[in-house]
């Protein structure tokens, strides 16, 4: 299992702040997780296909090819707008 967190606009769009997600195999790439989430249909597919979507693993921004292991924390969020 991995913990997935959704922030800001994404959390509103998905009506989901956090979930426990079962990896299909022992390890998974972010791309694979995105494909599985998108398979839930709208609004998930729309959110996961957004070119501006950012993803962090264990609170560090990663590329979609990054590998996720059980126990990891995955965060999905839009471009940041602080300051």
């Amino acid at each position: 299992m991995v913990k997935i967190l959704y922030f800001a606009r994404l959390r509103d769009q998905l009506s989901c702040a956090e979930e426990q997600f079962e990896l299909a195999v022992g390890k998974s790439s972010i791309d694979e997780i995105k494909r599985q989430l998108a398979a839930r249909g709208d609004p998930w597919s729309e959110v996961m296909q957004d070119m501006n979507l950012l993803v962090a693993v264990n609170q560090v921004i990663v590329e979609p090819t990054a590998i996720v292991e059980p126990g990891d924390e995955v965060g999905f969020f839009p471009p940041v707008t602080g300051g």
Binding site: A56, G75, P79, T81
Partner: protein, 149 residues
Amino acid sequence: MIKVQQEDFSLASEYEALWADAPKIGAIVTFTGLVRDFNADESVTGLFLEHYPGMTEKVLAQLVEDAKKRWPIINVRIIHRIGELKASDQIVFVGVNSEHREAAFAACEFLMDFLKTKAPFWKKEQRQSGDTWVEAKATDQERATRWQS
């Protein structure tokens, strides 16, 4: 010192802390960001600041490390507020001290440019007609990119 907090902060106290820190200090540069008049849109009644607890602090600490590698700065203080804010409220503080002004000026601007493009904060404008998430600006990204050359 990095703080993410709901409470307001005192510029005087932050300045005092930067002043008192070390005898070598010859320059203190501080930046304070305020909540603007919401793009002059009168229907906006307030602003809400969300962040990614844990990651925010990590990103800011890494930015301070990056700045310290680049310039001979001595101490850095960063405060970012979260939660409900109104127009003209203080929202962010970055203070840097160093022996000479060049390092403090440059590091302070570097830290703000990357805070705006890397630290996981999000602004939501509150309107009578409903809330709207603020869009990221390309100009902020361009400002941060300048430092890579």
